[in-house]
C-alpha cells in the first residue's frame, strides 16, 4: 500500500516538470512558477491559471477559473474528513494536501490507519516532488524547447485516467463517468473555462435519479468487498437505500 502511495506520488511529481516548463513558457518567472506550486498545490488549477494568463485572460478571470476548477477538492475533503477523522487543529495543515491523487489513494485504503498513512505518504512525497520538479522544469524550459514535442502534455490526463480507472467498476459509476465526459466536453464552448468540469458533477444527481426510478429491481451495484469509494470501512453505509 505504501508502495502504491509512493508510486502515485513519484509519477505525479514528475508531471510537475511539465508544469514548470509550461508555466515558464507562458511568461511567468521562475519565482512566480514556484510560488504557485508551493502555495496553490493543485495541478489542474495551476495549468488552468498559466494557460489562461498566456491566452491573455485578465488576472482575475484567470484565477477565478482556476479556483472554480479546484472546487472538486472541497468534495474530496467532505469524503476525507470522515475517513481521516482528523483533530480540528490538524485540519488546516492537512487541507493543503487535499487533492485528486491523495484522495484517490486514501479512498482505496480500508481502515483508518491505512487511510491516514496513504494520505500522508502521498501528500508529502507529492508535495516535495511537485515543487522540486516545478523548479527544474522552469529552469530547464529553454533547454527543452516545446514540451508538447516530448508528449509531456499527455502526462496530466493520463494521471487522471489512472486515478479514475479503479473507481469505475459498477454500472452506476460507469454511467456517471460517461455522462460527465459528455457534459465536460459538450459545455466547453458554452460556459466559461473551468465551469464545464463543475457542471459535469451534475452527472451524479442525474444518474442517481435514474437509478432511483428503477429501484424496485435489485440494483447490481451494492456494497462491494473492495470498494474504492471508501464505503467498506464505514459500517453505517450499506443497504440503506
Amino acid at each position: 500500500m505504501v508502495r502504491d502511495a509512493l508510486g502515485v506520488g513519484v509519477a505525479v511529481g514528475l508531471s510537475g516538470f511539465a508544469f514548470g516548463v509550461t508555466s515558464a513558457g507562458s511568461g511567468l518567472t521562475v519565482l512566480q512558477t514556484c510560488a504557485l506550486s508551493l502555495l496553490a498545490f493543485t495541478g489542474a488549477s495551476q495549468f488552468a491559471l498559466v494557460g489562461a494568463l498566456a491566452g491573455g485572460g485578465s488576472p482575475l478571470t484567470a484565477s477565478v477559473g482556476a479556483v472554480f476548477l479546484s472546487m472538486r477538492n472541497a468534495f474530496y475533503g467532505l469524503r476525507l474528513s470522515q475517513l481521516l477523522a482528523l483533530p480540528r487543529a490538524v485540519r488546516p495543515l492537512a487541507a493543503h494536501f487535499v487533492i485528486d491523487e491523495t484522495t484517490a489513494v486514501s479512498l482505496a485504503q480500508s481502515g483508518r490507519r491505512a487511510v491516514r498513512i496513504g494520505f500522508a505518504v502521498t501528500g508529502i512525497s507529492l508535495y516535495l516532488l511537485w515543487n522540486l520538479t516545478t523548479l527544474l522544469g522552469a529552469l530547464g524550459a529553454e533547454a527543452i524547447g516545446d514540451t508538447d514535442t516530448w508528449g509531456l502534455d499527455a502526462a496530466g490526463p493520463a494521471v487522471f485516467l489512472a486515478l479514475l480507472a479503479p473507481m469505475v467498476r459498477t454500472a452506476t459509476e460507469r454511467a456517471v463517468a460517461a455522462i460527465a465526459v459528455l457534459l465536460g466536453l459538450g459545455l466547453l464552448s458554452v460556459l466559461p473555462q473551468g465551469v464545464p468540469v463543475l457542471a459535469a458533477a451534475l452527472a451524479v444527481p442525474m444518474v442517481l435519479y435514474g437509478v432511483g426510478r428503477k429501484a424496485s429491481a435489485p440494483e447490481a451495484d451494492g456494497p462491494k468487498p473492495h470498494s474504492t469509494d471508501g464505503t467498506t470501512s464505514n459500517s453505517t453505509q450499506g443497504k440503506d437505500r
Partner: protein
C-alpha cells in the same frame, strides 16, 4: 504585479476551498443520499478532467496525438500495468505520434 495578484488570489482561493471541505460538519453527511453523491463526485470530476485535458484546447475540441497517448494509457490500465508505466505509455506514444506526424 498583475501575475502576482493572480497567483495570490488562486493560492488563497484554492486553499479556502480545500479547507472548507474538511471543516463541513460531519452531521451534514449522515444522510445516505449525500454519502452516495459524495462518493460518486470524484468519478464525475475526474472523468470530465481526463476528457477535457485530452480533447480540449482552450474552449475548442481537438483530436491530436494526445488521444493516441491516452488510448495507450487505457490499454496499459487494462493490462494492470503499474502507475508509472501507464503515464510513461501516454507520454511516449504521444511523443511518438507527433514525431511521425512531423
Amino acid at each position: 504585479m498583475n501575475i502576482w495578484t493572480a497567483i495570490a488570489v488562486t493560492a488563497v482561493g484554492c486553499y479556502a476551498v480545500k479547507l472548507a471541505g474538511l471543516l463541513v460538519p460531519v452531521g451534514a453527511l449522515e444522510r445516505p443520499l449525500v454519502k452516495r453523491m459524495a462518493a460518486l463526485l470524484p468519478v464525475a470530476l475526474l472523468a470530465a478532467l481526463t476528457a477535457q485535458q485530452t480533447f480540449a484546447d482552450g474552449r475548442t475540441l481537438v483530436l491530436d496525438a494526445k488521444a493516441a497517448g491516452l488510448a495507450a494509457a487505457a490499454v496499459a490500465l487494462l493490462l494492470r500495468a503499474p502507475f508509472l508505466l501507464v503515464i510513461a505509455a501516454a507520454v511516449l506514444v504521444t511523443a511518438g505520434v507527433r514525431a511521425m506526424a512531423g
